[in-house]
Amino acid sequence: MTDALPSPETVVVISAFALIYMLVLLRKTLQGKFDLYDFLMLSMVAIIPAGFALFPTLAYLVSHLTGVVFPFVVMFGALFLVVFAFMHNMTARLHRLERQNSALIQEQSLLVLELQAKQGRQGVDS
């Protein structure tokens, strides 16, 4: 079976998307909206398709090695893997933040109570 190569139009469209998306991500990272981990994981959405489009021989090599007939299946598999890894870490991070948020709210309420009790005692003393 002859390996079909992506057309120049496909390569241009995917490369343009990758470039624009990377620039957007970079801007948001520099603005402090994403950290480096977010930047790395989200940029995979651009890097992986661009890699498959720009280096088709490598894409076919990977698909042959993994025993998958179509390289785009490998590409989507890789993308899903990245997305799942990102979601997994994000869920853990969200859970941790939720717990910290709850603990902070509890602490704040207890500190207010303590402050009011101290003020009450000072009022009684004076």
Partner: protein, 263 residues
């Protein structure tokens, strides 16, 4: 004296003059080291009556009302008679109860007793919990509706669900006695249980899951029969299809608690 601080029943001054015009005073200082934790969410209609009932027992219990982000006058009404911890956001019953437990741990209380702010629990039953603990000092003493089946025992559907939770808890954990009412919100915690739950308390379905966590950690649990009343105000958050989802998730959490090693 360790409890000369927050556990003195100081009026925190959060109440407005409108809500406090009945002239109710903060409860008298008592020597006992028992804290009643009353988690509340929009309970302005019932919290005042409940605190009056507690005062009427004449036991001088320390109380802490935990206002779980109410949008009504719960805090204002409660602060006439009790210290109130106001949570800036609604954390749910688990977060509210743990706030009270943390307070009990820091103020060095010997026991804390959780009772609902909706009027379902009769404050006179508090003494029964304490008596039961004196006779059989377990770490957690639950006020159970289902030992004598007296008073309000919930709907048939919910009782069936509770039975499933009971089967799971009694089958998977060995915590001393046989639990009949794992969803009861009326329970006594001793110092060990206070220290344990101050560190970690489940946010979701806290009553049954906290028992699973406690028994996994080797804490002991016993029950005493109490009568509960139908809630005075508000509606249960677990109704209709939510009941099925509740059951599945609670059973899943209990199983998970069994599988995961205690930290």
């Amino acid at each position: 004296m360790a409890d000369m601080g927050l556990g003195m029943g100081i009026n925190t001054g959060l109440g407005s003059t409108d809500t406090c015009r009945d002239g109710a005073a903060a409860p008298p200082v008592a020597a006992s080291r028992i804290l009643l934790i009353i988690p509340c969410f929009n309970e302005e209609a019932s919290i005042g009556g409940l605190l009056s009932e507690i005062a009427a027992t004449g036991r001088g219990y320390h109380t802490l009302v935990v206002d779980d982000g109410s949008s009504d006058a719960t805090s204002a009404v409660a602060s006439c008679r009790s210290p109130v911890a106001r949570l800036a956001q609604n954390l749910g019953i688990g977060g509210a109860v743990q706030t009270g437990i943390k307070y009990a741990a820091r103020q060095d209380f010997d026991f804390c007793i959780q009772i609902d702010g909706d009027g379902q629990h009769d404050p006179r039953a508090i003494e029964m919990l304490l008596d039961a603990h004196r006779k059989d000092p377990t770490n957690i003493t639950i006020g159970s509706r289902f030992i004598h089946h007296a008073g309000f025992c919930s709907t048939r559907m919910r009782r069936a669900g509770i039975r499933l939770i009971v089967l799971a808890l009694n089958g998977l954990f060995r915590g001393g006695g046989r639990i009949t009412d794992p969803t009861s919100g009326m329970r006594l915690l001793d110092r060990s249980a206070i220290a344990f739950f101050a560190k970690a308390y489940p946010a979701d379905f806290p009553e049954p899951i906290s028992l699973a966590w406690a028994m996994r950690a080797g804490l002991t649990v016993s029950e005493v029969p109490v009568e509960m009343r139908a809630r005075e105000t508000g509606v249960s958050s677990i109704d209709g299809l939510k009941s099925a989802s509740y059951m599945i998730r609670v059973l899943g959490y209990i199983l998970l608690a069994r599988l995961v090693r205690a930290s």
